[in-house]
C-alpha cells in the first residue's frame, strides 16, 4: 500500500465527508417554521376573496400533509451536508459516466437563467411582451438547422427519451397518412443504440427488431437487408454507437430503409464528437435530436430538467409537436400552433426554457469554429485515454482493435475479472476512494465487465492523467491484493450497498411513506422517530 502511494503520486489522499445525516422527514420538529407566509392584504382579499374558500369541499384534505416542519437554517444545512456526501460533476473528474457527456456547465450561464427578464417571464403572458425569449428560441432553431442540416425544429421534448417518443409519434402519423397498402409496424434499431430508441417506439406499439453487433462491434448491412420489408416503419439509430465506434456505412443504412419505404431517425444524444464534422442530413436522416443537457453544456441536474430538441426534414415539418417559433415579415416572433399534421402538444407550454437559455449562451460563446473545436478536443481526449487505458493490465477495448474511437469507448475489465476475480463493479467502488466516479452500468453486459469513459473537451491532460492513475493503481491492486479492491470503498460515506433490496418489492421504498409501511418494525426496534 505504502509503495503504491509512492508510485501513484497524482492520486489524492481523499476522504469523503460523512455527516450521518437523517432523512429530511426525520428532522421534523412540530411547530418549527421554515417560512411564515404573510396574510394577504385586506384590500386584495376584499377584491379576490381568500382563495381557499373557492376550492370545492370534496377536494380539501381532511388531514394536514405529512410534511416535515423544519427551520430554514436546518434545511440549508441538511442539503449542504448531503451535497458533500456525493461525487458530483463539479467535484470530481467525471469522465467515468460514458454516454452521459458530463462536461463543464459554465456558471455564468446560470446568471442568464436567473435574470428576472428570463426567470419572471410567465408562459401565459402575451407573446408581444416576451419577444426576447421567442427570438432566442428562433435563433436556436436556426443554429440547429445549421448543425444538423435538417429543416425545422421543435423544442417541446424535454429529454432524449421524450424526443424519441416524439420521433416515434411522427413515424406513426406519417405512415397513417401515407398508407401504401402495407401495415408498417416494425422499427429497426441496433443493440448498441440507446435502449430508449427501442423502448419509446415500443410504447407506441411498434415491433422492435434489434440488430446485434458483428465482430467489429457494428451492425451489418447484410443483417439490415435481411430484415427490411414492406412492414418496415423506420430505423432509429445512434452513431457513433455506445462503443464510440462510428458506423461508416450509415448512409447505406438510411438508403436501404428508405428504399423499403421507412423513415430514419437519428439519436444524436451523443453528438459531442461530431459537432461540425458530420450532419444528419448528409447521412440521409429524416429526423434527429440533440440533448442540450449533454453536448450543449446544460447540467444534468440529477435526471432533469433536460431538453431533447427535435429536428425534421421539409417532408416532415408539419408533423412536429406544436408550437414552433416563427418570424413574421415585420420581424416579430410568434408561436405557431398551426401545423397541418402535427402530432400535437407533447409538453406543457413552450419547452424547457432555462435549459435552452444555457445552451444558447454556450453556442453563442463558442461560435462555428468553437463548436468544431469542442468535437476535435473531445475526440483527441478520448483517444489519448484509449491509448493509455488499453495498456493497463486487465483492461481492453473490445471490437475494432487499433482503430480510433469518436467521443467515448466502452472498455472491458473481462481479463481482470477472469484473472483476479475483481470485476467492473469492484473497480467502480474502489475509484470512489480516490474521489472519482466510475459508472459500472451498461447492463446487460454485452461487453463483459464494461465501463465507458467519455472525457469530453472539458478536462485537462493533467486531470485525465490523474484518472488514468486511479485505474492503473486499481489494476495493480487487483493483481497484488485483490481483497483491497473487493472490500472497497474504504474512504467513502456508504460502504457496499446490498442492491438486492431494490429488486425486492417487499422491501423497496421509493417514498418515505412506503418506507414507513414496509420497514416500520425495524424502525420501532431501532427506536427511530417515525412520526410525520
Amino acid at each position: 500500500m505504502e509503495s503504491l502511494n509512492k508510485k501513484y503520486k497524482r492520486l489524492r489522499n481523499f476522504h469523503q465527508a460523512k455527516w450521518d445525516e437523517e432523512i429530511i422527514f426525520q428532522l421534523h420538529n412540530p411547530g418549527e417554521k421554515g417560512l411564515i407566509v404573510n396574510r394577504v392584504e385586506t384590500q386584495i382579499e376584499h377584491m379576490t376573496g381568500d382563495g381557499i374558500s373557492e376550492i370545492p369541499e370534496s377536494m380539501l384534505r381532511e388531514q394536514k400533509p405529512g410534511l416535515p416542519e423544519i427551520g430554514q437554517m436546518r434545511v440549508l444545512k441538511h442539503f449542504l451536508r448531503l451535497s458533500q456526501q456525493n461525487l458530483g460533476a463539479d467535484f470530481n473528474i467525471d469522465v467515468g459516466q460514458g454516454t452521459c457527456t458530463i462536461k463543464y456547465n459554465p456558471k455564468i450561464n446560470e446568471c442568464f437563467v436567473r435574470d428576472p427578464r428570463e426567470s419572471d417571464v410567465h408562459p401565459m403572458q402575451d407573446e408581444s411582451t416576451c419577444q426576447g425569449t421567442l427570438q432566442m428560441l428562433y435563433e436556436m432553431h436556426e443554429f440547429f438547422k445549421e448543425i444538423s442540416g435538417l429543416d425545422r425544429f421543435s423544442f417541446q421534448p424535454s429529454s432524449g427519451s421524450h424526443a424519441i417518443l416524439n420521433m416515434a409519434s411522427i413515424l406513426r402519423k406519417y405512415h397513417e397518412d401515407h398508407v401504401d397498402g402495407h401495415q408498417r409496424d416494425e422499427l429497426i434499431t441496433t443493440i448498441f443504440s440507446h435502449p430508449s430508441d427501442a423502448a419509446a417506439a415500443k410504447v407506441l406499439g411498434f415491433k422492435i427488431i434489434t440488430l446485434h453487433q458483428e465482430e467489429n462491434g457494428l451492425p451489418s448491412v447484410e443483417a439490415l437487408k435481411r430484415v427490411v420489408s414492406e412492414r418496415t416503419a423506420g430505423l432509429f439509430i445512434t452513431n457513433p454507437e455506445d462503443t464510440g465506434i462510428y458506423n461508416p456505412d450509415i448512409d447505406e443504412f438510411t438508403a436501404i430503409v428508405h428504399e423499403a419505404g421507412g423513415l430514419c431517425g437519428y439519436d444524436q444524444a451523443n453528438a459531442n464528437g461530431i459537432l461540425g464534422i458530420t450532419r444528419a442530413k448528409e447521412a440521409g436522416f429524416d429526423m434527429c435530436f440533440f440533448n442540450l443537457h449533454k453536448t450543449f453544456s446544460g447540467p444534468h441536474g440529477s435526471g432533469g430538467p433536460a431538453a431533447g430538441v427535435l429536428g425534421v426534414t421539409k417532408k416532415l415539418q408539419d408533423y412536429l409537436a406544436v408550437p414552433v417559433v416563427d418570424k413574421r415579415e415585420d420581424g416579430t416572433y410568434f408561436l405557431n400552433f398551426d401545423l397541418a399534421h402535427s402530432i400535437g402538444k407533447t409538453r406543457q407550454f413552450y419547452g424547457p426554457i432555462p435549459v435552452i437559455v444555457r445552451a444558447y449562451a454556450w453556442i453563442r460563446s463558442l461560435g462555428v469554429e468553437g463548436l468544431e473545436e469542442v468535437a476535435r478536443i473531445a475526440v483527441l481526449n478520448n483517444n489519448y485515454l484509449l491509448s493509455k487505458i488499453t495498456k493497463i493490465r486487465g483492461a481492453s477495448s473490445p471490437y475494432s482493435a487499433g482503430k480510433h474511437r469518436i467521443e467515448q469507448v466502452r472498455y472491458s475489465w473481462d481479463r481482470l475479472y477472469k484473472e483476479t476475480g475483481v470485476g467492473t463493479h469492484d473497480v467502480a467502488l474502489r475509484m470512489a476512494d480516490f474521489g472519482f466516479h466510475m459508472w459500472s452500468s451498461h447492463h446487460p453486459f454485452i461487453v463483459p465487465e464494461p465501463f465507458t469513459i467519455e472525457p469530453t473537451e472539458s478536462y485537462s491532460k493533467e486531470e485525465l492523467d490523474e484518472y488514468i492513475e486511479g485505474l492503473q493503481r486499481i489494476s495493480d491492486e487487483a493483481y497484488a491484493t485483490p481483497e483491497i479492491v473487493k472490500r472497497a470503498p474504504h474512504h467513502s460515506v456508504v460502504h457496499r450497498v446490498d442492491h438486492s433490496v431494490s429488486d425486492d418489492p417487499e422491501k423497496w421504498a421509493i417514498t418515505w411513506r412506503a418506507y414507513l409501511r414496509k420497514h416500520r418494525d425495524r424502525l420501532v426496534e431501532e427506536d427511530v422517530q417515525i412520526e410525520g
Binding site: A198, H212, P219, A223, V227, G421, H443, F445, S500, D503
Partner: protein, 372 residues
C-alpha cells in the same frame, strides 16, 4: 442457518485432457488413468468451497465420504456432516444418485455438485427440480446450462444464498452427449431434463432499468408473440426446451418438454416424434415450419439436444421457415459467438447459415447469425 450439500465427482474431467471425451464408463476411466489423467475435479471443488467459506454467514455442510467431498472439507478444516451412503473405491453414477437422494431426504437447502454433464444428469435423474442445485464445472463435457461459469463464481453465488441475499431461480437444461457415439465422431445428444439453479441478478442486470425480466416472464412474453405470429393452416415441428414448452403451454397444448412435437395452433398432432416420423409427416404435403430454441450454454440451434431434426429433415427448410425463440440473456451470454448448426451434414449446415430474427420478447426480436 442454511445447509449446503456438496457432491464431488472425483473422476469428472479426467477424460478431457487425454482426448477421451468423458469418463462415463469404467473402461474409459481406466484408459484415462493410464494416459496420465489426474483429478482436477477435487481441486476445483476446493476453490468453490473456499470461496463459500469466506462468507461471514454461518453454514452447515453436508457431504459424501472420502473423495466425493469429505476429503475436500477436511483439507479446508471445515466441519461437516456425512450422508449415509456407501461409496465405491472407484466412484460411480449410482453413488452420486444415492447421495443426492439422501440430501433431498435430509432437506438441505442447496446442493453444490462438482462434475460435468454426466454428473448433472445423475442429479437430475435422482432428484430433478425438487432440490435446488448448482454445478461447479469440472467435467469434460459442459453442454448443460446448470453450471456456474467457474468454480469461484459457484462459491460466491452459494455465499450470497447463505447470506439471505435475494437470489433468483431459473431452470437449467441438463444435456448430455452419448459418449460412445461421440468417441466414434458422431454427435448425439439429448435433453435429459432440468435442474433448479440459483443465479444472481445483481451480477448481470442493471438496477437503473428497474427489475429485469425473470426467465419465466421472458419466456411467457416470447410465447405470446410467437402465438400471435402462428397461422392456423401451418403445421409446426416444435423442438425441445423450456422456452418452446412455454409456447405449447400458452397455446393450451400438452407438449413434451424433452422431445420434438408436431403441432398446429390448436392441437398436438404427434408427441415426441423421431426423425423418421418427421420425414413421414412432411411427405403428407402440408405446409410445415419449425420452432426451436438454442439448447444449452453453447448456443447450438441444431445438433445438440434436438437430433430429431436430422439432416434429411432440415434440408427441406429455408431459414425463413425456422422460428427461433430465446431470451435476450441467453443470446448475450454467447458473447457474440454465432448460434451453431451441427446437423451432421455440411450442405445442410450451409443452407441454414445466415441471419435470423430471434424472437426475444413480446414484439421484440434480435437479429443474430447462425452458422453451420
Amino acid at each position: 442457518m442454511k445447509t449446503i450439500g456438496l457432491i464431488v465427482n472425483p473422476i469428472a474431467g479426467m477424460g478431457g485432457a487425454v482426448g477421451l471425451k468423458g469418463t462415463d464408463t469404467a473402461l474409459i476411466l481406466n484408459k484415462a488413468k493410464k494416459l496420465g489423467a489426474s483429478p482436477g475435479s477435487t481441486e476445483k471443488a476446493k476453490i468453490a468451497l473456499k470461496e463459500l467459506l469466506k462468507s461471514k454467514a454461518g453454514v452447515k455442510l453436508m457431504t459424501c465420504p472420502d473423495s466425493m467431498g469429505a476429503s475436500v472439507a477436511k483439507e479446508l478444516g471445515v466441519d461437516f456432516e456425512l450422508v449415509d451412503i456407501s461409496v465405491n473405491v472407484r466412484t460411480t453414477a449410482q453413488n452420486t444418485m444415492d447421495a443426492a437422494r439422501e440430501m433431498l431426504r435430509k432437506n438441505i437447502d442447496l446442493l453444490l455438485f462438482a462434475g460435468g454433464d454426466g454428473t448433472a444428469r445423475d442429479i437430475c435423474e435422482s432428484v430433478g427440480t425438487k432440490l435446488p442445485a448448482l454445478g461447479i464445472p469440472t467435467g469434460v463435457k459442459i453442454h448443460s446450462s446448470t453450471f456456474s461459469i467457474n468454480p469461484t463464481m459457484a462459491g460466491r453465488l452459494c455465499a450470497s444464498f447463505i447470506e439471505d441475499k435475494k437470489v433468483d431461480w431459473r431452470t437449467g437444461e441438463v444435456i448430455d452427449l452419448d459418449e460412445q457415439q461421440y468417441r466414434l465422431g458422431n454427435i448425439s445428444s439429448k435433453l435429459y431434463g432440468y435442474l433448479r439453479i440459483p443465479y444472481l441478478r445483481a451480477h448481470v442486470q442493471k438496477l437503473k432499468s428497474g427489475s429485469p425480466e425473470s426467465e419465466k416472464y421472458g419466456q411467457e412474453a416470447i410465447a405470446q408473440y410467437m402465438m400471435e405470429k402462428m397461422e392456423d393452416e401451418i403445421v409446426y415441428f416444435i423442438g425441445p426446451g423450456s422456452t418452446t414448452m412455454a409456447l405449447t403451454d400458452k397455446l393450451g397444448l400438452r407438449g413434451s418438454l424433452l422431445g420434438v412435437d408436431i403441432i398446429t395452433k390448436s392441437k398436438v398432432l404427434k408427441r415426441d416424434v423421431t426423425d423418421r416420423q418427421l420425414l413421414d409427416f412432411m411427405n403428407e404435403g402440408r405446409r410445415v415450419e419449425v420452432i426451436v430454441t438454442p439448447i444449452g450454454g453453447q448456443g447450438f440451434l441444431f445438433g445438440r439436444g434436438n437430433q430429431q431434426f436430422a439432416p434429411k429433415v432440415l434440408c427441406r427448410f429455408e431459414p425463413g421457415q425456422i422460428h427461433i425463440l430465446s431470451t435476450q440473456k441467453k443470446i448475450i451470454d454467447l458473447q457474440g459467438q454465432p448460434l451453431l448448426i451441427d446437423s451432421g451434414d455440411e450442405s445442410v449446415n450451409k443452407q441454414l447459415t445466415g441471419y435470423y430474427r430471434i424472437i426475444s420478447g413480446y414484439h421484440e426480436s434480435l437479429v443474430y447469425k447462425a452458422v453451420g
